[in-house]
């Protein structure tokens, strides 16, 4: 069940090159299938192709941003947790300040100021969302630090940075693994949301959120335009969520309640 949907999520970006990027085909306005399995959109572009290429955009951006965020958050969290003392306190203050802003609002404002484009949206989201992860990872590092075997290792002379990686990271790994697909899903939703509002990918770049936005004026007469990209987002995120849930079941991880940031 999990695997099947995951396959869909990944396959989409591979299937994309199969379909010609026949955008700008002003041939037909709207019309259902035959040559065009999903019909065409309001500018006569093949909906299916746009869907597949949109997968590349939406999913790619989502993965990229979340990887950066989590890596950064992990790095800072590790650093802060391991360093302890003053460094930790100062870093946490900084993170708290970053976290006191409503994330979506701030990223909206950032994009608004930088100018609407996919790249700016990605930058905005990255800048705003990393702090939550940093705090979470730091918390986990602190908990991990207190475990007996870590203390024992330190007593024996395990050098701060390098050997901690072998003791602390393995403890964090399960949670990290569970979080990854879930957070990617969340970021995909956020990025498409920004695009939906018009602040992410701009026309004619196919991106699922933007496609939804373009479908808005037509949704009464041609609901297909709205159902398809939205459905795509849903399925992709669903696949990711199920993957994360699957991991959680396998690894028996308890959901860290405090991460709802």
């Amino acid at each position: 069940m999990v695997a099947a949907i995951l396959a869909v999520a990944i396959m989409a970006s591979w299937l994309a090159p199969h379909d010609p990027l026949t955008i700008d085909l002003n041939r037909r306005m709207e019309g259902p299938s035959a040559t065009y399995p999903l019909g065409t959109d309001n500018l006569g572009r093949c909906l299916l192709s746009r869907l597949f290429y949109g997968a590349r955009t939406s999913l790619g951006a989502g993965y990229a941003v979340s990887l950066v965020i989590m890596a950064f958050g992990l790095g800072i969290g590790l650093f802060s947790g391991l360093a302890g003392g003053k460094v930790d306190a100062v870093t946490m203050r900084l993170i708290d300040i970053c976290l006191s802003f409503p994330s979506l609002i701030l990223s909206l404002a950032l994009v608004g100021i930088l100018g609407p484009s996919l790249r700016n949206a990605m930058i905005a989201v990255t800048t705003v969302w990393w702090a939550g992860y940093a705090r979470l990872f730091r918390g986990m590092v602190l908990t991990a630090k207190e475990k007996e075997f870590v203390v024992a290792a330190r007593v024996v002379g395990a050098r701060g940075i390098k050997l901690m990686r072998y003791h602390i990271l393995p403890q964090i790994m399960p949670v990290l693994l569970v979080m990854l697909p879930l957070e990617v899903g969340k970021i995909i939703l956020v990025l498409s949301g920004l695009s939906f509002l018009g602040f992410g990918a701009q026309a004619p770049i196919p991106e699922w959120g933007a496609m939804l936005n373009e479908a808005r004026p037509f949704f009464q007469t041609y609901p297909r335009l709205m159902l398809v990209p939205g459905g795509a987002i849903f399925v992709a995120v669903l696949g990711l969520n199920m993957l994360g849930e699957g991991f959680r079941d396998i690894l028996q991880v308890k959901k860290p309640v405090s991460w709802v940031s």
């Binding site: 300040i97 006191s100 802003f101 409503p102 994330s103 979506l104 609002i105 701030l106 909206l108 404002a109 950032l110 994009v111 608004g112 100021i113 930088l114 100018g115 609407p116 899903g185 939703l189 498409s192 949301g193 939906f196 509002l197 018009g198 602040f199 959120g209 939804l212 808005r216 949704f219 009464q220 609901p223 709205m226 159902l227 939205g230 459905g231 987002i233 849903f234 995120v237 669903l238 990711l240 969520n241 199920m242 849930e245 308890k254 959901k255 309640v257 709802v260 940031s261």
Partner: protein, 315 residues
């Protein structure tokens, strides 16, 4: 443990620092933004600018001053609740914000209530029927709903319920009926997430010994629930719910856009698409103040409610 007064004042200072911080950041960003404010202003008034006019407008707007000077001017005005004038409409920003505020509050409050009720329902259901199909069904439902993009949900709801079935109005703000769809859109996703949390929290409380004692005493399930479980499970929940208000604020931007709801979120979005910097600044600062204040309130409530803390301060 800390003296509550000390706690309050230190948090208040933190609040102030955050507000100043964010206004600084926002202001700097806007300053760095491409586009000359004077030009934008003039273009929005549908005239094409002559250089001399531009220059005088710039001077009027104080754009010739240094960054620091501009910021402090803005800050001074802001403290006096003057957030500038919208580029687009020429109305004072403060007025626009206050006009929209009730709408957003209505929406957010409604969605919050919805979320609380539904998540309580789901969580309790999951706890009581755990290991049976109800629990599994709820779990599946939760995963599905959290994968839904809220804007898609909104559009779907409009399509099926408002257009096809003509059950609810699809746009704008009006009576109770107008509220239904937006509230569901905004609240559903979060209610699923919190349903899980409620369930987890309740399960944890359930497994405590004093619950078994209550059962042994002969209390019915319902009495156990309301008397013991709820009270103890509620504490972390209240904290989380309070924090979720921030999320709701953000989500309101999207929902308001879909449903043509005249609220703050939409003001912000419109302001951004029109590059109406005073509005953007004003909205962001205002919303952040609300967000931070709510967080502070939540912390205080948490501090009050936690019986462990109560005991300490009583001694």
């Amino acid at each position: 443990m800390q003296n509550p007064l000390w706690f309050l004042s230190s948090r208040a200072i933190q609040l102030l620092a955050t507000i100043i911080g964010i206004s600084l950041i926002t202001f700097t960003l806007m300053h760095l933004a491409p586009g000359d404010a004077a030009e934008i202003w003039v273009r929005n008034l549908h005239s094409s600018p002559a250089d001399a006019t531009l220059q005088s407008i710039r001077e009027q707007m104080g754009l010739q001053e240094s960054w620091g000077h501009q910021y402090f001017t803005w800050l001074g005005n802001a403290v006096r609740l003057n957030l500038g004038v919208s580029f687009r409409t020429g109305e004072p920003v403060t007025k626009e914000i206050l006009q929209r505020l009730p709408a957003t509050l209505e929406l957010t409050a409604g969605a919050f209530l919805f979320m609380v009720c539904v998540s309580l329902l789901l969580g309790t259901g999951g706890t009581l029927f755990s290991k049976r199909w109800v629990d599994q069904a709820i779990r599946v439902w939760t995963v599905a709903v959290t994968s839904l993009p809220s804007y898609w949900l909104g559009l779907l709801l409009i399509f099926f319920l408002a257009v096809k079935l003509q059950l609810f109005p699809s746009m704008g703000r009006g009576g109770m009926l107008h509220l239904v769809l937006p509230i569901i859109t905004l609240g559903l996703g979060m209610s699923a997430v919190y349903g899980r949390v409620v369930r987890a929290s309740m399960m944890e409380v359930f497994s405590q010994d004093y619950i078994k004692l209550a059962r042994a005493k002969g209390l019915s399930t319902r009495e156990v629930l309301t008397g013991h479980v709820l009270k103890n499970a509620l504490l972390p929940l209240v904290t989380l719910w309070g924090l979720s208000l921030g999320h709701l604020l953000g989500g309101s931007a999207i929902v308001e856009t879909i449903f043509a709801w005249p609220g703050l979120g939409r003001l912000l979005v419109d302001g951004i698409s029109q590059r109406d910097y005073p509005v953007i600044m004003g909205c962001v600062v205002f919303m952040t103040i609300i967000f931070v204040s709510i967080n502070l309130l939540v912390d205080i409530i948490h501090g009050c409610l936690d019986p462990r803390l109560k005991k300490v301060s009583a001694s």
